[in-house]
């Protein structure tokens, strides 16, 4: 082994040692997970943080209310309490696909001041998503929808910004004659 080779080797080893000595970029306790309820509307996957989900249930009937915006599907009775139910695709101005929709599940989301239901075809389950795996919303999403979306995961799961959906005034219906 020539001298230069030894030098090279030393240099490489040093570099390797340096890299190894570095703290890992993501430390275990630094990992942030978001628990979300994953659901499907019209063949698209959406997720909403469990913190905002009050309950999920199967509906038989939905009562239509005349004179409300299109995105309000109607109202449902949950053990004596009335909830309005909205269709997020309509609210986001996302055109409907050709798939067949059941739309027979309602996810009630709430915070201190607001409470309403979101309609879904089916519930895929609850899962944890690494928060830095949520990347920004693709530009193909309609402008109006992007405000209410936190981001998208690798497997095309759209994570909704529940906080904003609950605090945003534009979802509230308040109409005079």
């Amino acid at each position: 082994m020539s001298e230069s080779e030894i030098k090279d080797r030393k240099r490489i080893l040093k570099e390797r040692a340096k890299i190894l000595a570095q703290e890992p970029a993501v430390r275990k306790e630094g990992l942030q997970y978001v628990n979300i309820v994953e659901f499907i509307v019209d063949n698209d996957k959406y997720g909403i943080p469990t913190d905002f989900v009050r309950e999920v249930f199967l509906i038989k009937d939905i009562t239509k209310i005349p004179g409300v915006p299109d995105y309000v599907m109607g109202i449902v009775n949950v053990r004596g309490q009335i909830f309005s139910v909205i269709d997020i695709k309509m609210f986001f101005h996302i055109p409907r696909g050709k798939g067949i929709s059941n739309l027979n599940r309602v996810i009630i989301i709430r915070n201190e001041h607001m409470e309403y239901g979101i309609i879904a075809d089916s519930i895929a389950g609850v899962k944890s998503v690494l928060s830095d795996k949520i990347v920004s919303t693709p530009l193909t999403m309609p402008e109006h929808a992007r405000k209410y979306i936190k981001g998208v995961t690798e497997d095309q799961l759209v994570i909704l910004d529940a906080e904003h959906m609950l605090t945003d005034k534009s979802i509230i219906v308040c109409e005079e004659v």
Partner: protein, 795 residues
């Protein structure tokens, strides 16, 4: 401070607020009493009371660390103590300062975190009892006469005594105060102890929660009724079976017997008797089984009917009891009235005395909350329009002080009457009529033919006011309309009587408790809706032949009047597009119709079918639907079905809007059909061309296209167009050149030109405008509605 402590502080502050509000209310009321200058022994009592209130409030404020309130109370205490011990009297004008102080405390209470400058106020309060020359400084704030009174008489007289008091040893004074406080506290605790035994203080929110839960039990009642009805329906099926069975069974038996006989006779031997026997046996067994079932079901049906009666009785009783618990005396909302009357009348330099009688009468808390503002409005009206200015009153030989009396009394077990009368100028009926005619409420000859009583009730119509000027207090003609609407919503009535120069009396009759809401369940375009029974004058069937067309609108005659008839589904906008009701005869001869009468406006609404009439519990539509047009809420039927409850006030308004707009719409449609506007699109890109064409066609225009400027210009010269939409960047002739050509042509120069382009710079825009374009839309900011709006502006 850790979280728990903060939480504790929060709770403490909330409790303090409730307590402080009470003290402040009391103080304010007592101050008003003092101002009326009651006899001496009364005064002593009142001062003692205010003193105690101020003292307790001071202590409490210190506990929650609100130094502002604490300091104000301290100064007030000083004033009252001097009034108490030295017999000092305050002149009328000086009470303003005390009222200010009380107001200031309630302001601090509302937003304690806000920093307020109170030192000046404190100075003024303490200035009330200081008697050196500094009084003259304060005198600027009050009318001279008040100062004269106080300075001239009281202050001088009190002077020697004050000196004596000053010279007294301070310790002595403090001692005295302490005694007084102790006495006060003792009294307090005695009062509290005795009241503890009979009364319980419960937060209203807790009672409300109980009330809501009890109200929910109405659905239990509905469900039990539903079950009972289902069971009796099944038991009817069984008795049907019973009668059928006995017919068939007896004939079957006979057949068997005959068969047996004939068979034995013919053959002389038994042939398979076991078969028919076992069949008969089975039929017998089957009969007994079903009989047993029938008995069971009948028993169940009977029991469930009884259960329903029991549940209904218990729920109703419980609800009544809870409603009674939630009754509150009128005085709880009338407390603030004397102060408001005082303030307003001072403002208008009128002298008004408010007498309240019957404040102890109790009424449903919810009614009280709703009726407070209307009552206040009437009282304001009385001051503003009723009571004349002092000089005016003297000229008419009236007492200089006007009187408004508010009296409440219970007329029967579930009704209360509130009378608000003033001894003012009265309402000029001619003026009411004039205002009604001016506002176009009804035709002139109709109004002129009204008798006085009818005409007077016009004051409850909106837009009718006798006041020539609109003030911040009244005169817009809206207030009394709201008074009536609120009263009617609560199931009551409002009346008015007046006599020129003698006064006006408003009479409001209200139920003591809010009746459970009843609703008519009707089917509209296949969907069920609940309509409040109280607003429905009549539910009836209308023969389609009785529908007349008046000015193109469907009308029926009811109760001697013509009433507009409109489909409820049209008003709710769930229509299926048929215009006139009389147009779709054939389906049925009769139409189910509800005559709705709200605030003397009557409209007949026809529905598919009237299903039921029952108690309904109106619930909100959820937090996201704050207010929805025409819908007041929703109710849950016994079956679990959710049914929207109609808002009749909206409904009448919507019906009026629809019937007035429909004619206009028809005309509009006609003209647009006569000649659709034609637009020429000049655009070289095929995709852009198709896109623009689609958008404009969807907007209802006829669209022709050209591929470039030259093509466009030749088309413009051969055909007629109303507008040109052109791209800028095109081969052969660009948009600027085309625009310039159009403007240069005599025949075409008037045609509006809209340039649509990807060139977004200011220079380009200016160039476009220079060339004579009417509008310039940049493609990057382009959207459909934007284009259509721009087009609409020009044609």
């Amino acid at each position: 401070m850790n979280e728990r402590e903060i939480e504790f502080q929060k709770r403490l502050l909330a409790t303090f607020k409730i307590e402080a509000e009470e003290h402040i209310k009391e103080m304010s009321a007592d101050l008003l009493k003092m101002e009326e200058n009651p006899p001496h022994h009364e005064q002593i009592k009142i001062i003692e009371k205010i003193f105690r209130e101020a003292h307790s409030l001071k202590g409490a404020a210190r506990a929650v660390n609100l130094p502002g309130i604490e300091k104000i109370c301290q100064s007030l205490e000083t004033v009252f103590s001097s009034m108490k011990h030295e017999g000092r009297k305050l002149s009328v004008g000086k009470y303003d300062v005390l009222h200010n102080a009380v107001d200031c405390m309630s302001k601090i209470l509302v937003s304690p975190e806000e920093n307020r400058e109170i030192s000046e106020l404190l100075q003024r309060i303490e200035g009330l009892i200081s008697d050196d020359g500094s009084d003259t400084v304060r005198s600027e704030e009050y009318p001279q006469k008040y100062v004269d009174e106080s300075m001239g008489t009281n202050a001088e007289k009190e002077l020697p005594e004050e000196r004596v008091a000053d010279s007294m040893e301070e310790d002595d004074l403090i001692e005295k105060k302490r005694e007084a406080n102790a006495a006060g506290q003792k009294n307090d605790s005695v009062e509290r102890e005795t009241s503890h035994a009979k009364m319980l203080r419960v937060a209203a929110a807790k009672l409300d929660a109980i009330f809501f839960k009890v109200e929910e039990m109405l659905s239990l009642k509905q469900i039990s009724l539903l079950r009972a009805n289902e069971l009796s329906r099944i038991s009817n099926i069984m008795s049907d079976w019973d009668s059928k069975w006995s017919d068939v069974y007896s004939s079957a038996r006979k057949t068997f017997l005959l068969q047996e006989k004939s068979e034995t006779r013919k053959e002389g031997m038994e042939r398979n008797p076991a078969y028919s026997d076992s069949l008969m046996e089975f039929l017998e067994w089957n009969h007994n089984r079903i009989k047993a079932l029938e008995e069971g079901i009948n028993g169940l049906a009977g029991n469930s009917k009884r259960d329903h009666r029991m549940i209904a009785g218990m729920v109703d009783e419980l609800l009544e009891d809870v409603k009674k618990i939630l009754m509150m005396p009128f005085s709880s909302v009338l407390e603030g009235f004397p102060k408001v009357v005082r303030d307003i009348s001072r403002n208008q330099s009128k002298n008004v005395n408010l007498l309240i009688k019957g404040g102890e009468v109790e009424i449903d808390k919810r009614i009280l909350e709703e009726i407070k503002d209307p009552l206040m409005h009437i009282v304001r009206n009385c001051i503003d329009h009723g009571i004349e200015k002092t000089e005016e009153r003297l000229r008419r030989n009236k007492k200089p002080q006007g009187t408004i009396s508010l009296s409440i009394h219970q007329t029967n077990s579930n009704q209360v009457e509130i009378r608000i009368s003033d001894d003012g100028a009265g309402i000029n009926i001619e003026k009411v009529k004039k205002s009604a005619i001016k506002s176009g409420f009804a035709k002139e000859d109709h109004i002129n033919s009204m008798d006085d009583k009818e005409a007077l009730s016009l004051v409850f119509q909106s837009d009718i006011s006798t006041s020539p000027i609109v003030t911040d207090i009244s005169g817009r003609g809206l207030g009394l309309a709201i008074v009536r609407e609120k009263t009617e919503k609560l199931g009551g009535q409002a009346h008015v009587e007046t006599k020129i120069n003698v006064g006006t009396t408003f009479r409001i009759v209200l139920p003591l408790t809010l009746a459970t809401f009843r609703g008519i369940i009707a089917r509209v375009a296949g969907q069920k809706f609940a309509i409040p029974t109280i607003s429905v004058e009549q539910a009836m069937r209308v023969n389609t032949n009785d529908i007349k067309q008046i000015e193109g609108k469907d009308t029926i005659f009811f109760d001697g009047n013509s009433v507009p008839l409109i489909k409820l589904q049209d008003v709710l906008r769930i229509s299926n597009g048929k215009k006139h009701i009389s147009g779709d005869r054939g389906n049925s001869e009769y139409l189910a119709t509800l005559i709705i009468n709200v605030s003397h406006k009557r409209i007949a609404f026809c529905v598919d079918e009237i299903v039921d009439e029952q108690e309904v519990l109106v619930k909100s539509l959820g937090k996201q639907l704050v207010r929805v047009r025409n819908i007041a809420g929703a109710t849950i039927l016994g079956s679990g079905e959710v049914v929207p409850v109609v808002n009749v006030y909206d409904l009448i308004q919507s019906a009026i809007n629809i019937s007035s707009s429909s004619v206009a719409k028809d005309i509009q449609q006609e003209t647009s059909e006569k000649r659709r506007k034609t637009i020429l699109i000049v655009e070289d890109s095929i995709t852009s061309r198709m896109l623009l064409k689609n958008i404009l066609e969807s907007g209802g225009y006829t669209v022709k296209t050209a591929v470039d400027g030259i093509d466009g210009l030749s088309k413009l010269k051969t055909e007629e167009y109303d507008l040109v939409v052109s791209d800028v960047d095109m081969p052969r002739m660009n948009g600027f050149a085309l625009t310039a050509k159009i403007r240069g042509d005599k025949k075409l120069s008037e045609i509006p030109v809209i340039l649509v382009t990807s060139l977004g710079s200011r220079e380009d825009r200016e160039r476009g405008i220079d060339a004579g374009a009417n509008a310039y839309i940049v493609k990057s900011s382009f959207d459909q509605s934007n284009l259509l709006e721009t087009v609409k502006r020009f044609i």
